[in-house]
């Protein structure tokens, strides 16, 4: 079997598996977020924490709860890292430096999992499991909450209430993420991923040398890392490490995991707004972008434009031979199209244009299919923008799912769309303008520019993958990337919740033949085009000086 065929079969199997889960998981999530009944364990939690699960919150209350919860997470994670040496299971690692601890705490709470450190060489098991892995669940659940709140904004009318953050959070963790992660971890163990609590085993190699084989609760962390589109690897090499991702099957399974919830959430959307076709249309848009990106990256990587590539037969530098070009491209496009950021190959070693496409894929706002929850609310915001521009062309005040898009709504959408590009371009420009940060750049010329651009693209979009080469563990990068992650995560969240609040106050306009249909192929094409054009126009100059300058 040649590489291409194997790759196509992998894509086919992936799509089939997702299709199989689409309806049951999507409907299940819709049920989870609409049912009135609490599980006993949830009731216990509500009583312990002291929240009234039936309290329907306005957007501000919802947002304040969400922010307070996330802020507490940052403080806690920061403390665990700073006090590491005094805590159990530290494996003897010292406390983490303040700027790195800030960066890491923010990184995990924002679902970014940017790692400016090497996991196995910096964090003990408590920090990894009790701190980082916990945030892997919680940050993903927070994303789910925002998506569900926005769906409710569309589905409800005349209320202004978006549900209860604490209930959504608890249910998201207990009923969705935990069970799925449990199943996924077991499957990963079966596929050969390591799972123990040992600090590492010293072995003598065949050649007579000594080597430490690190161990740890890898499979459990791997499961939620993919499922929650987190991406923070147990090992520095992330999913390229054989203990995290032993072979082609585990590779495919991990890709499946990171696409699973974002894909199925479109079904949840369809069910909760009472229009399944709307869910399909959003999914179709995500799929179109994903397929276009995959085809482009794959084709570019499989081609070998320079002499250096000719030696390997294709652009294999930085890729694992057990995954090959298709397995690496599939993983790379999926991880940058979601906000996962896990990698099984080194994006810096992709051909320049291929790497540029991965950057653009993040620059799209990570909507194909995007992170857990973030992908859905991200693309819904883009859908509003699309409807607003194109919808005017049918001669009505633009509306999406029966909600009119007027100045108030558009203000929130405009700010939302502004946030990420401003962070990415602003910090990239700043880093390149200052001589200190420029020293972190490994390669000269356009590739060096790509290293910096990629870092901020990854940070502001809460992706977390890195373009190898940049020495990011410096106070400047730790702090600016930390700010980019925080702002890139929470500003859109606040704006999205405000938008949801405004939408839920409106009456729902009945659909007529004069309404712009938003659940058909025309809309899918339009939305995909707007997503591509907006990001393309925003980042074209920067990409021209990085990947394009290097590759053309």
């Amino acid at each position: 079997m040649n590489d291409t065929l194997a790759g196509l079969l992998q894509v086919g199997a992936l799509i089939a598996a997702l299709a199989l889960c689409y309806r049951p998981l999507g409907s299940y999530m819709a049920h989870v977020f609409t049912t009135e009944r609490d599980l006993r364990v949830e009731r216990v939690i509500y009583r312990l924490v002291g929240v009234d699960p039936r309290a329907d919150q306005a957007w501000k209350t919802y947002a304040v709860a969400l922010l307070a919860f996330s802020f507490a997470g940052v403080v806690l994670l920061y403390a665990v890292q700073r006090l590491q040496s005094g805590l159990p299971w530290s494996l003897g690692f010292p406390e983490v430096a303040p700027d790195l601890a800030f960066n890491t705490a923010v990184s995990f709470v924002t679902n970014t999992n940017w790692q400016a450190y090497s996991g196995e060489a910096t964090m003990g098991h408590l920090a990894q499991m009790g701190g980082l892995a916990v945030q892997n669940f919680l940050s993903a659940a927070v994303g789910l909450c925002v998506a569900v709140a926005l769906i409710r904004g569309f589905a409800r009318s005349h209320t202004g209430r978006l549900g209860n953050f604490w209930v959504d959070l608890t249910r998201g963790v207990i009923r969705i993420l935990l069970p799925l992660a449990l199943v996924a971890a077991v499957v990963l163990i079966l596929l050969g991923v390591v799972q123990n609590l040992s600090g590492g085993v010293d072995v003598s190699t065949l050649s007579g040398g000594n080597q430490t084989l690190p161990g740890g609760p890898v499979a459990s962390q791997e499961a939620i890392k993919e499922l929650g589109t987190n991406g923070g690897g147990f090992f520095n090499a992330n999913a390229a490490h054989p203990f995290e991702n032993p072979g082609a099957v585990s590779n495919l399974f991990e890709i499946f995991l990171l696409l699973l919830i974002p894909v199925c959430l479109t079904r949840t959307l369809g069910e909760m707004v009472g229009d399944l076709r709307q869910g399909y249309a959003i999914l179709a848009t995500m799929t179109v972008i994903w397929v276009v990106m995959l085809a482009a990256v794959w084709a570019i990587e499989a081609a070998h434009p320079t002499a250096a590539y000719d030696l390997a037969g294709s652009a294999m530098e930085g890729k694992e031979t057990r995954f090959g070009v298709p397995g690496s491209s599939l993983y790379a496009v999926s991880t940058t199209g979601t906000s996962t950021g896990a990698v099984n190959s080194f994006h810096s070693s992709f051909s320049p244009v291929g790497g540029g496409l991965l950057m653009l894929n993040m620059g799209l706002g990570e909507v194909a299919p995007g992170g857990v929850g973030t992908g859905l609310y991200g693309i819904l915001v883009m859908a509003i923008l699309t409807v607003f521009i194109a919808g005017l062309m049918v001669g009505r005040t633009p509306e999406l799912l029966g909600k009119k898009l007027r100045a108030g709504e558009m203000k929130l959408v405009a700010l939302n769309i502004l946030t990420m590009p401003l962070l990415v371009l602003g910090f990239t420009g700043l880093a390149l303008a200052l001589s200190g940060p420029r020293e972190s750049i490994l390669n000269a010329g356009p590739h060096g520019l790509s290293e910096v651009l990629y870092a901020y693209m990854s940070g502001a979009n809460n992706n977390g993958s890195a373009f190898a080469g940049l020495s990011a563990n410096t106070p400047f990068f730790n702090i600016t990337l930390g700010v980019a992650m925080l702002a890139g995560r929470f500003i859109p969240i606040i704006l999205t919740l405000a938008l949801a609040g405004a939408l839920s106050k409106q009456a729902t306009v009945p659909r007529t033949s004069g309404t712009l249909p938003t659940n058909g192929p025309l809309f899918v094409g339009m939305l995909a085009t707007v997503v591509l054009i907006v990001a393309g126009l925003t980042f074209f100059p920067a990409l021209a000086l990085g990947p394009l300058a290097e590759g053309l």
Binding site: S157, F388, I389, A390, G391, L392, M393, V394, G395, R396, T397, G402, R406, A407, E409, M410, K411, V413, A414, I417, L418, P421, L422, L425, G426, T428, G429, L430, L432, A433, R438, P446, G448, L449, A507, T508, V509, P510, T512, S513, G514, T515, L516, P517, G520, L522, M526, I533, G536, L537, F539, F540, P541, A542, A544, L545, L548, A549, G551, L552
Partner: protein, 699 residues
């Protein structure tokens, strides 16, 4: 009453009849107006004015910056860019100035009607005093006689007069204004042609109808509409994104060893930000109002025009809108023993003196169907007409030996029985059939000398649906608009007419309260409602409706309650108003799409020009094979400026609108303005480059 003083109204002689300029053709843009609007366009360069248009303000700041740079470092290229950046701003101002200029011509006409008038105020004592019209206050009574100008808006409280309202409606046929009822309102500036009326003033000076009209057409009171605000927010945010992209390009370029002149970055910025729609946005809005005025509709706010595009439900009064004002005879249905021609003849005779439209229609039908010539009274000896009275509920004619009656079934059958006649079941059957089909039966009977009276047959009177209404409603349905017919008829009649006209729904035996309830019901379901009305009892509903079009013939309270006034008083115009509202939004959307789509080509022109020197690979992006970096950048800037001028006619005329479903409309507009917007600049920039590259210092 005191002696009447001769009116001394300077405007009285030069009667302010609207000239033809009031009805400017839709899409005609006289190139001369571009020139005449130039001074105004230059005046608008004032930053304090321009700051309200954020996109163009950014261009102006950029142009100012470039001027400084060009002075410091003069070169053909630098000056060429600077000049064209200034031209971009001027062209944008020109678009607005041209749109406003058209309104100003109309305002001038209106102003002539407003020239200082002397009013004759009626004092409590019954005395008349001459005062300036501007001294009139709400509640004052004034006397206006033939040949005088009505000094202010008000209601007629005494008398009846024919009034020339051409100053505001453009319609030269005089209208009747009388006290009481729904025709009591008069507008200041119109001229009384006959008789004498006493008017109670209802507005203070400066707030009158004409004042508001002038302000509206001049755009002075123009406020940004909700959609315009939303669009402005979007355009501003795009501007900020592109500002970030160009500002940060400076350090990126320095890092790359390809530092860029500030001037080039400004040129890039101006090309990227949505200048096309930014420049034309306010012109589109003004032109939209203007189009309404050309249709003789005054919108009190731009908000109402936009709402018209969104309307989901149209409430249309049956009479006058869906049907012709009056019922017409449609058919003669004789009883079995009588020939149809006999019935027609009798019906015609009975209707000769009946001057009501219904009566006339019987005469017409008899002539049309049976060739019965209309006879004049003199031809028939011994003719006595029996007029209709509320007691007898019938009318007719006595011809000596022969008496003919027509009227309501119960009245005429009673008359027949009184005179010894029989009324068979047959008549009842015919009458019921007509009634259940929504028509009105008129029974015709006769009595010849000494014979028992007998029923001849029944005239079927029915409402005549205006021609083409079914098709209009079909279009409405395609546009997603539900039409509801409002009528005072019984449900049976209403249903029959509704079916014939093709409306979606009807409200029968409608009272003002029910109408109001219907509007509220629709609005609760999230629908926008439009309606027309003229009577005082329509006022609450007009105010409640999202688009309330008051007829100019209506009462002042109706006009006050509605947010539009139709000067032609043609209720059917609601449909056109909806179309104009839609066209306004479509034009905005189309030009926004076009503007954004343009950016693709501009990148392909400018980025290779900026960096092709350092990274030769980027020159492959120069797909247009533009001559030199300078010519590429200049061509993009020139295209960006010229496209504004090229699109002014479209902005003023509006994108062509044909009623169709949203999906097909979208597909069509996307193809033209989306795809066209991507392709057009490639061609345009290349063409300009061919010219520009011949300039020494550029090519």
């Amino acid at each position: 009453m005191s002696t009447l003083t001769e009116p001394t109204t300077p405007a009285a002689d030069e009667s302010p009849v609207a000239d033809t300029s009031r009805r400017v053709g839709g899409g005609l843009l006289d190139p001369r107006t571009l020139v005449t609007s130039l001074p105004e366009a230059l005046r608008k360069l004032d930053p304090r004015v321009l700051v309200h248009t954020p996109v163009m303000f950014v261009v102006e700041v950029g142009a100012g910056l470039c001027t400084v740079l060009a002075i410091l470092d003069p070169s053909v290229f630098n000056w060429a860019i600077t000049v064209w950046l200034w031209l971009t701003v001027v062209f944008a101002n020109l678009a607005e100035a041209v749109a406003e200029g058209r309104g100003r011509a109309q305002a001038a006409t209106l102003r002539r009607a407003k020239t200082e008038t002397t009013a004759r105020r009626l004092l409590a004592s019954g005395q008349l005093e001459d005062v300036s019209a501007t001294a009139l206050r709400i509640g004052d009574h004034v006397v206006v006689e033939a040949g005088q100008i009505i000094p202010g808006d008000g209601d007629v409280i005494e008398g009846v007069a024919s009034v020339d309202e051409s100053a505001i409606t453009g319609e030269s046929a005089p209208v009747i204004r009388e006290s009481g009822g729904d025709r009591c309102s008069v507008t200041g500036g119109t001229k009384v042609l006959s008789d004498r009326i006493v008017v109670q003033v209802t507005t203070n000076p400066g707030e009158s109808f004409i004042d508001r009209m002038i302000a509206l057409v001049e755009g002075a009171s123009r406020q940004k509409t909700p959609n315009e605000i939303a669009l402005n927010i979007l355009l501003s945010s795009l501007t900020i994104i592109f500002l970030a992209a160009t500002v940060t390009l400076k350090p990126l370029a320095i890092y790359s060893g390809a530092d860029q002149d500030l001037l080039v970055l400004v040129a890039l910025l101006v090309c990227l930000i949505p200048t096309t729609i930014g420049a034309l946005l306010s012109a589109i809005g003004i032109a939209g109002m203007d189009r309404l005025v050309q249709h003789n509709v005054l919108a009190m706010s731009g908000r109402a025009v936009e709402a018209a595009g969104d309307v989901n439900t149209l409430l249309l009064d049956k009479t006058g809108t869906i049907t012709l004002g009056n019922r017409e005879a449609a058919e003669f249905l004789p009883v079995e023993t009588v020939a149809a021609a006999v019935l027609a003849d009798a019906a015609q005779l009975a209707s000769l003196a009946d001057e009501t439209p219904e009566g006339r229609s019987v005469v017409v039908l008899a002539k049309r169907s049976y060739g019965l010539r209309e006879r004049s009274e003199g031809e028939l000896p011994g003719l006595t007409f029996v007029p209709f009275s509320a007691q007898t509920r019938m009318s007719g004619v006595d011809l000596g030996e022969r008496e003919i009656r027509k009227g309501a079934a119960s009245a005429v059958t009673a008359w027949v029985r009184e005179r010894g006649g029989q009324t068979g079941e047959e008549v009842g059957t015919i009458v019921d059939a007509i009634a259940s089909s929504g028509g009105t039966p008129l029974v015709v009977a006769e009595q010849r000398h000494d014979e028992p009276a007998r029923v001849l047959g029944v005239i079927h009177l029915k409402d005549v649906v205006k021609e083409g209404m079914r098709e209009r409603f079909e279009e409405m349905r395609r546009m997603g608009i539900r039409t509801v017919m409002i009528t005072g008829d019984n449900p049976l009649t209403a249903r029959a007419i509704a079916e014939e006209a093709g409306v979606d729904d009807f409200l029968a035996e409608a009272t003002p309260e029910e109408k109001m309830a219907l509007i509220k019901r629709e609005q609760e379901g999230g629908r926008l409602v439009a309606m027309t009305g003229d009577g005082t009892n329509d006022a609450p509903a007009l105010a409640q409706a999202d688009v309330g079009v008051a007829m100019n013939t209506g009462t002042s309270s109706a006009k006050e309650a509605g947010n539009m006034v139709d000067l032609d008083s043609n209720p059917t115009k609601l449909i056109e108003i909806v179309e104009i509202g839609k066209q306004l939004l479509i034009t905005r959307g189309a030009l926004t799409t076009f503007s954004i789509a343009n950016d693709v080509a501009k990148y392909f022109a400018i980025i290779p020009a900026m960096f092709g020197g350092v990274y030769a690979g980027l020159d492959t992006l120069n797909v247009m094979r533009l001559d030199s970096p300078e010519s590429a950048i200049l061509s993009a800037v020139i295209f960006n400026a010229l496209v504004i001028v090229a699109l002014i006619p479209l902005a003023l005329r509006g994108v062509r609108y044909r009623p169709s479903s949203a999906a097909s409309m979208l597909r069509r507009n996307l193809a033209i303005y989306g795809l066209g917007g991507v392709v057009a600049p490639f061609i345009g920039i290349k063409a300009i480059d061919l010219l520009v590259s011949t300039i020494p210092g550029i090519g």
